[in-house]
Symmetry: C2
Subunit: 273 residues, 2 copies
């Protein structure tokens, strides 16, 4: 049996967006391997109920732990917002969500103490970012709103399309020129729309993307728990799983990962046949 | 055991869009009851593979046939495009999809013999409308393209938003002023965007919405098969099922049904827990 440190980091997301988290993990922790699961057969989670998202999150986590992982990253904001407690209760590896790290970074960034949060309906409706921000700094004022059209715009590849600019303005111009100086991109798809979002809120607002904050949290946790991959040994290669046939995953995913996805394995997560 | 004619018509869709078909069935066949299933826990189907959509369609059909139905309407264009044969093979009630009726109506409508089809990636990628149109009239020229942003726009309630107009123009203005005189709205969400779509293609193009064509097909089939609900008896009330918690279904669904949804029952279709 291999030492736990040599095992890969498990990462799951509702679909391809979580590849932005893998990208940040690879940049921050080049000695570690990741095994990624995108639940493309049931994507998106953002418009679904907490009950259904929790059920799907547990399915995903069981599949990843069965392959052997040393730590689980919940790259999906919606699943992090509603299912983190259920996952931590069930699993015997450390579980890291994206909400806590993103909120901590935003709380450390803001000077005006006014922070915005955008995400899916599920993430915003859960109030998880507001609670995490208030736990970090009770003096913060937090504004939040769901932006459901950003995910389909990013998947359509329309990040730079005039429509993306207009959608961003419709959602966000209420916040331009106000006291807010920090905005959390509370969905893994949103970093792709960074340009349109920045234009809508104005240049004075710092956009906080959870991916690099998560990588920093994972790095600290691996060190504290003695789980860093041992020097001088080769980590196993990264692996990518999807629950639907992987052609679309590979094609759209390379924009999110920032690198080619040579091989994506189909996995059957849904025994409901 | 009740006579088969007194049983309701089963209708399923990936989510709420198929309520536009229920609306047309209620208008055309007021003596019939419908039992509707929206697979809101796994919506959308339009970006998923034929394998996954077929599996989900069979799940849905089994659930509806277990409640007792006399005929199944596949209100989802994507499922009609890829799963109709599998459903017809498995079920012992007549199965009606939306592709055939919509294609027949469009073929009867066009004078220029140039027809357009818009739908999800799954529907357009399957080529099912092109095949159905060519089977009706081999002389037709058919242009098709997927319009993935129309579904999230309709669900967001932005049918009349300037963004809807701009998205429609981006997708469709290549067809404005050409020979096309008939355009099939090959997705149950698209009738909500009728105004934006009409503006983009121009006033000379007739928009064909499958819902009323399906109601006409169902009416003829019930008569031919002796399945019309007997006069003088009360049909059972309409029933609505959803696979995710039904608050959102009820709220968004009334725009699609054109009437209030008093009660939506949660049903567990996914044993993958």
């Amino acid at each position: 049996m291999p030492a736990r440190g040599t095992l890969p980091i498990g990462v799951f997301d509702s679909g391809i967006g979580g590849l932005t988290v893998v990208r940040a993990l690879r940049a921050a922790l080049p000695q570690e391997a990741c095994v990624y699961l995108g639940d493309t057969a049931r994507v998106p989670y953002g418009t679904k109920s907490a009950e259904v998202v929790t059920r799907y999150a547990l399915n995903n986590a069981r599949l990843l732990t069965a392959t052997g992982i040393k730590l689980l990253v919940v790259a999906c904001n919606t699943a992090s917002a509603v299912a983190l407690d259920a996952l931590a209760r069930e699993l015997d590896v450390p579980v890291v969500g994206v909400i806590g790290p993103g909120a901590a970074r935003a709380a450390a960034t803001t000077r005006s103490a006014v922070v915005g949060v955008i995400g899916t309906e599920g993430t915003v409706g859960s109030g998880a970012y507001v609670r995490a921000l208030e736990a970090e700094r009770p003096d913060l004022t937090v504004h939040s709103r769901p932006c459901p059209l950003f995910v389909p715009l990013a998947e359509e590849g329309w990040e730079e399309h005039p429509v993306a600019m207009e959608v961003a303005r419709s959602y966000l111009d209420r916040w331009a020129g106000g006291a807010m100086d920090t905005l959390i991109l509370g969905c893994t798809h949103y970093p792709l729309l960074r340009k349109a979002i920045q234009a809508a809120v104005g240049p004075g607002v710092t956009l906080v993307d959870s991916a690099s904050a998560v990588a920093q949290t994972v790095s600290g946790l691996l060190a504290r728990e003695g789980l860093v991959h041992p020097e001088g040994t080769r980590p196993p290669p990264h692996r990518f799983f999807a629950t639907d046939v992987p052609e679309r995953f590979r094609e759209v995913g390379r924009r999110f990962l920032g690198a080619a996805l040579d091989r994506v394995e189909l996995v059957d997560i849904d025994p409901g046949r």
